[in-house]
Symmetry: C3
Subunit: 109 residues, 3 copies
Amino acid sequence: MKLIISVVQDKDVGRLLDSLVRRGYQTTKLASTGGFLRQGNTTLLIGVPDDRVDDAVGIIEQTCRSRTEILSPVAAPSGPAEAYIPYPVEVRVGGATLFVLDVEQFRKV
Amino acid sequence: MKLIISVVQDKDVGRLLDSLVRRGYQTTKLASTGGFLRQGNTTLLIGVPDDRVDDAVGIIEQTCRSRTEILSPVAAPSGPAEAYIPYPVEVRVGGATLFVLDVEQFRKV
Amino acid sequence: MKLIISVVQDKDVGRLLDSLVRRGYQTTKLASTGGFLRQGNTTLLIGVPDDRVDDAVGIIEQTCRSRTEILSPVAAPSGPAEAYIPYPVEVRVGGATLFVLDVEQFRKV
Ligand SMILES: Nc1ncnc2c1ncn2[C@@H]1O[C@@H]2COP(=O)(O)O[C@H]3[C@@H](O)[C@H](n4cnc5c(N)ncnc54)O[C@@H]3COP(=O)(O)O[C@H]2[C@H]1O
Ligand SMILES: Nc1ncnc2c1ncn2[C@@H]1O[C@@H]2COP(=O)(O)O[C@H]3[C@@H](O)[C@H](n4cnc5c(N)ncnc54)O[C@@H]3COP(=O)(O)O[C@H]2[C@H]1O
Ligand SMILES: Nc1ncnc2c1ncn2[C@@H]1O[C@@H]2COP(=O)(O)O[C@H]3[C@@H](O)[C@H](n4cnc5c(N)ncnc54)O[C@@H]3COP(=O)(O)O[C@H]2[C@H]1O
């Protein structure tokens, strides 16, 4: 068993969950925040059998897309003075960041 | 050291935390959402020494119980047309889904 | 690749994220709750290359500090009668609790 921990953009979550459910995967969704942009995103936990990891990762890669976010010229809400942004800045945000971890024991009760 | 990641139903969380605390376990609780029902549930992180995994898993299994949820006849809030449910549907939700992962380093500061 | 899962106190999160960002680390932040005090804290996910784990852990240890929390004399909101606290109790809360896990596959899309 493997556990996929995947950080994805909120705009892709609905379609991604539909695709994963349709293909028989089970997932748990956590609301999260990116450490750099300090904006909301989503962290998914997807426990999958070893032989289905590539298929599940494929669904994530096909469904999630990179986008450009604009950082507006305001002081970062919790940052120091050096985080003040005087002009808009473009940041490329990836569709998904994926960690595949080995699961030693998997139990359902 | 092992890390138990356990998805449990909200109704069991209070009693589960009390039992785990009483037996000397430390836990961190995350609010989560089931990918299928799109309803709130809870994800617990429980770091335990290797020789206490079975005991901790036992507490979770004894405290958490399967229930039947009714999916009502409304359109799934973020799903496509095919997710529209015209009549109530019963879904069996397990007490707990558990992943036990190996921890390479455990530090407390 | 390793994944650091770190439970830290909310008061230290702003400064910790600034330090991690300044040193080129990427993080994802989850709002969490301590299982004992039932108070809000923060769980960070930090994927780091193997040879940078010690550096990242060092930043967390230098930035996060232990504090004393006072448990007030009220009934625990979700606990049984035995959790009623008749007088204030001091609890030492550590700066950070860290789990370093091995990542089998790391992908960015
Ligand atoms: N120090 C820095 N300097 C300049 N630009 C920076 C930067 N840190 C991040 N960025 C850029 O900002 C985007 C959003 O990062 P954020 O941390 O808000 O949101 C991240 C974070 O929540 C998560 N993530 C990415 N890598 C991670 C890792 N190694 N560990 C934990 N979470 C990660 O995935 C989200 C998207 O990351 P992605 O790399 O696609 O997109 C990143 C990256 O293009
Ligand atoms: N391999 C895994 N990886 C990550 N998280 C996992 C997981 N297996 C279970 N979970 C988590 O545990 C919750 C309960 O799952 P359970 O299988 O007991 O109970 C499930 C199952 O009986 C049913 N179900 C789930 N997916 C289904 C599907 N594709 N078709 C039909 N029934 C499904 O609906 C119940 C609620 O599912 P929901 O997704 O809302 O909530 C799930 C999900 O949050
Ligand atoms: N092995 C583990 N697995 C998962 N998460 C872990 C963990 N060890 C620590 N944590 C997380 O880190 C927070 C701080 O723990 P710490 O041990 O420094 O500080 C603790 C400790 O000094 C004390 N404490 C915890 N459990 C206790 C117990 N059963 N009896 C007496 N004191 C306890 O209360 C403080 C706050 O605990 P709280 O649970 O609210 O919040 C915990 C919890 O969210």
